[in-house]
């Protein structure tokens, strides 16, 4: 411990880092937010003053050390300040997903016993008011956007600016207390508590200490040479550990600037205006951007289209090699430079990637074509593997060793061990302290020596030392004949087709596999428009015979590719159905981070699965849907079940690595 304290120059809490930044980078921008059409910015010195005012206001309001403060809002400087202000007074910030329903919030808030809530606007205030009777410890709420809230009872409801003003007004009363509380913070005090999205069961509160966050942020920043000159765009949910590490951990460690978009809808425009140097996005965002580019290129003039195709083909061939610093002949290099001038440069500018030095994708597997597309443009896109319990980083890809199918080598300071059943275990300084009020889960996840079970199955490639993830360990099963069943592997292959948004494979314990498929409305809709196919709804488009035929051809291609893998050739899709609705977090079919909840989907659509197995050509079904405002309705549909051609299975070897 002494050693690591020295390594961080005695800076053992985020508020301490803030003090340092205010001195060291005082006049450098710390936060920017676009509002009223202009980028408003705050320097580190100003940020320190804002946070101090808020922290004083917190003390004045009665926040005690050890209290929990729930923070509900989209990425805005105010909420980052609220988190650091909470830490400064010895309280624990608990960021929540702002799109969570009132019941979801009720569970988390009651579980941590939050006494205070800092939230964004009327929408969030209404949600908290709705659930406040069930919350025993809840006392005060602070909001940022006053719109529509004037008539509310303000006995326990405060404006953010008022709390800051009160803090400033009571400066001399509380400043000594604030300093004392700040100094009490150690490497072991809690930095933040984040609730896992909970693919199964109730969300669990992951307690992360200052050590976890600062050590991880330090190691990861050094790994990628991040410095105070970097810029990031904070747009991913604040309740997600990644945003906390990037926008708080690394931002405070290195002193770089966090930029907040004007609204979720303007994210792409804001991205272009900021041109971040360090960028993170889940594969889905890269996919959407690529789809948009391709759709727009379809509408370009023939000359531009040909130029684009020509240079993109060239980039595909030599781009990744140039990026990795491998040897490429002079003629190809020259042509790549020309392409940079004509196509790659303007394209990167349009996408907002002109300045990206380090880009990461994680959370899900990314399609090799998508990955290659960005890398061929010269964008240093890499993959990392991580989870909340590890303060994100478990493995990362070093520059120059980037591949689509691995997740890289162990991150600095992380030890990894593969169990006999293939499950990945890790141990590091970033390893979480505990699950809050859940000793049982803590014990079953983290053993006495600090090894944490990831729940993922994978293996190290013998020749490169890179980690490859197969699937969730609990999802990996066996077919009736004993061969390996790894649904994610097949689903990812399916999802790599731009017109397939989501796929769910079933077949654990059965003699063959079947699949649900969700089409991508943007891609398929565009295709339909071009081919003069009229449709009125998602459901109608999903059931169109031509769509069925094209998806069938994708499935059969995937089968061919799956058949080549000895271990997994049993997972070929025998029959599939295109679902009549998109799987949605509001219906509980996915987590808020858009991961499919297999068990719930299997249970909800069990009639369809039955039909897939009993050989019937069609199935009529009725499904309950939840609208955004919480009302429920139902849609009924008759779905056609398609048989896909499968490849003969070459070997029947049962293997477990």
């Amino acid at each position: 411990m002494t050693q690591s304290s020295q390594a961080t120059d005695g800076l053992c809490s985020v508020p301490a880092l803030l003090q340092r930044n205010a001195q060291k980078f005082g006049s450098k921008a710390a936060y920017r937010e676009k509002e009223f059409g202009i980028w408003q910015s705050w320097t580190w010195a100003e940020t320190e003053k804002e946070i101090e005012a808020l922290a004083l206001g917190f003390i004045n309001l009665g926040v005690n050390e050890g209290d929990f403060i729930a923070i509900i809002g989209r990425n805005r400087p105010y909420f980052y300040w609220a988190m650091v202000a909470a830490q400064s007074v010895g309280a624990v910030p608990v960021p929540l997903y702002n799109d969570a329903s009132a019941e979801e919030m009720a569970y988390v808030m009651e579980h941590c016993g939050a006494r205070f809530v800092v939230c964004e606007d009327q929408e969030q205030v209404d949600k908290v008011i709705e659930i406040q009777d069930g919350l025993h410890q809840f006392e005060h709420m602070i909001y940022v956007d006053p719109r529509g809230l004037r008539k509310y009872d303000h006995h326990a409801l405060h404006r953010f600016v008022d709390i800051q003003a009160q803090g400033r007004a009571t400066y001399y009363e509380w400043i000594e207390d604030l300093k004392a509380r700040r100094e009490k913070l150690t490497y072991d005090s809690t930095c933040v508590m984040l609730y896992t999205s909970g693919t199964t069961g109730k969300p669990k509160g992951v307690v992360l200490s200052n050590r976890n966050i600062i050590e991880t942020a330090k190691n990861a920043s050094e790994f990628d040479n991040l410095n105070a000159g970097d810029e990031i765009l904070a747009y991913l949910p604040m309740a997600w550990v990644g945003d906390f590490i990037f926008s708080v951990g690394q931002a405070y460690w290195t002193g770089f600037c966090t930029n907040c978009p004007e609204s979720p809808e303007t994210m792409m425009t804001d991205l272009r205006e900021i041109g971040p140097t360090y960028y993170f996005a889940p594969p889905r965002i890269f996919e959407t951007q690529l789809t948009n580019v391709m759709i727009r290129m379809e509408d370009a003039s023939p000359f531009k289209k040909r130029l684009f195709d020509y240079f993109m083909a060239h980039a595909k061939r030599v781009g990744p090699a140039i990026l990795d610093g491998k040897s490429v002949n002079a003629w190809d290099r020259l042509k790549y430079k020309l392409g940079e001038l004509a196509i790659y440069g303007p394209l990167k500018n349009t996408l907002g990637f002109s300045r990206v030095r380090v880009g990461y994708t994680a959370g899900e597997a990314i399609g090799p074509e998508i990955f290659e597309f960005y890398r061929s443009l010269g964008i240093n896109l890499k993959q990392l593997y991580g989870q909340t319990e590890a303060s994100v980083f478990i493995t990362v890809q070093p520059d120059g060793e980037v591949r689509a199918d691995t997740v890289g080598i162990p991150s600095k300071g992380v030890e990894i061990r593969i169990a006999d059943n293939g499950e990945i275990f890790y141990r590091s300084e970033g390893t979480f302290v505990e699950y809050y009020k859940n000793a049982e889960s803590t014990a079953s996840t983290k053993d006495a020596e600090g090894w944490v079970a990831t729940g993922d199955a994978g293996f190290f490639e013998p020749d490169t030392g890179h980690l490859r993830i197969i699937d969730r360990a609990k999802d990996v099963g066996a077919m009736a004949d004993g061969s390996l069943f790894a649904p994610k592997y097949v689903e990812n292959k399916l999802k790599f087709y731009p017109d397939i948004l989501e796929a769910v494979l079933f077949g654990n314990g059965k003699d063959r596999c079947v699949a649900f498929i969700n089409i991508d409305l943007t891609a398929v809709g565009n295709w339909a428009e071009r081919n003069n196919i009229a449709y009125a709804s998602y459901q109608e488009l999903a059931g169109h015979p031509k769509v069925l035929a094209s998806i069938q051809s994708h499935v059969e291609e995937v089968n061919k590719s799956v058949a080549q893998d000895e271990m997994l050739s049993g997972c070929q899709v025998h029959r599939f159905v295109i679902l009549h609705k998109e799987l949605d977090a509001d219906d509980g079919e996915m987590t808020r981070t858009r991961k499919v909840r297999r068990v719930i989907v299997a249970d909800k659509f069990k009639d369809i699965i039955e039909a897939l197995y009993d050989g019937s050509p069609q199935i009529s079904t009725k499904t309950e849907v939840t609208y955004e405002d919480g009302r429920k309705g139902s849609i009924s549909a008759t779905l056609t079940i398609i048989d896909a051609k499968v490849q003969p299975v070459t070997t029947q070897k049962v293997a477990a690595e």
């Binding site: 059409g37 719109r147 008539k151 303007t266």
Partner: protein, 273 residues
């Protein structure tokens, strides 16, 4: 001025409504031999949301056009802010602080949303064409100030994402919102909305209702609106005037109007002898 009507009142949800902002006294409007409006009187109080409803052809839009000064009634008087309003051109009415939106959207299609909203600020600009062309000194300061107002409204109506989009490319529901933004940019004391929800789907209607309530709440703007969707009218407005065949057949709170026999007849239909 009528003493009775200058008094304010308090709404069910506790909002304080002020004195009379506008009063229509015995208005009669005819086009040739056709009487569009016959002897109608009602008032609009400061800070309230006042609806004018009625079946098709009842004379609602004509009434709104009288308020906005577009039509000049043959008989009757329009009192505004305690003064009898002389005959005036629509742009003069606009300068008095009355802004409106149109039933069939009247935006500048080729211009961006921002530019459209900025046109609403026209009455707040004092520099001349030449000064604005040079864009130095006062003209520049003025533009910056007005842009700030426009941006606040863009933020308020949540149309940041389409700020630079040409209006022609927008869907109908958003165009309606842009029109509201432009009207608001004029910082009106009286806002006239001609069928703000016409042709919208349920979600768009809910959004628009929210915005209308928020405008009234945040800026204290008095709103007079014409609307066909009864649910919307009854939920939004403080008081309702009901018209049928150019005559006023009801006037009061939504509940009073709902139970008024003449109104029920007009909507359900009875034979007119």
């Amino acid at each position: 001025m009528n003493d009775m009507s200058t008094e304010g009142y308090t709404t069910e949800d506790g909002r304080k409504i002020g004195g009379t902002l506008m009063e229509m006294k015995n208005i009669t409007l005819s086009f040739g031999g056709v009487k569009a409006i016959t002897d109608i009187s009602f008032d609009i109080k400061e800070g309230e949301i006042r609806a004018i409803i009625g079946p098709n052809g009842a004379g609602k839009s004509s009434m709104l056009n009288v308020i906005s000064g577009f039509y000049i009634p043959q008989e009757g008087e329009v009192w505004y802010k305690g003064e009898k309003r002389a005959q005036m051109k629509p742009y003069e009415v606009a300068r008095l602080g009355i802004a409106r939106t149109f039933q069939n959207i009247a935006l500048f299609d080729g211009m961006s949303v921002l530019d459209n909203v900025m046109t609403g600020r026209l009455n707040h600009m004092t520099t001349g064409l030449f000064a604005q062309g040079l864009w130095k000194g006062k003209a520049e300061r003025e533009e910056v100030e007005n842009r700030e107002r426009a941006e606040k409204i863009i933020d308020f109506l949540e149309i940041q994402a389409i700020r630079k989009t040409p209006v022609a490319r927008l869907p109908y529901g958003l165009k309606k919102r842009v029109e509201l933004a432009r009207a608001l940019a004029a910082e009106p004391s009286l806002l006239l909305l001609d069928e703000p929800m016409a042709g919208m789907n349920v979600e768009e209607k809910e959004d628009m209702s929210r915005f209308i309530l928020d405008v009234n709440d945040e800026f204290g703007t008095t709103i007079a609106l014409i609307e066909h969707d009864m649910g919307v009218v009854m939920d939004l407005s403080d008081r309702v005037v009901v018209m049928d065949y150019g005559k006023k057949i009801g006037d009061g709170t939504p509940d009073e109007v709902r139970n008024n026999q003449d109104v029920i007849d007009a909507y359900l239909g009875v034979s007119h002898d």
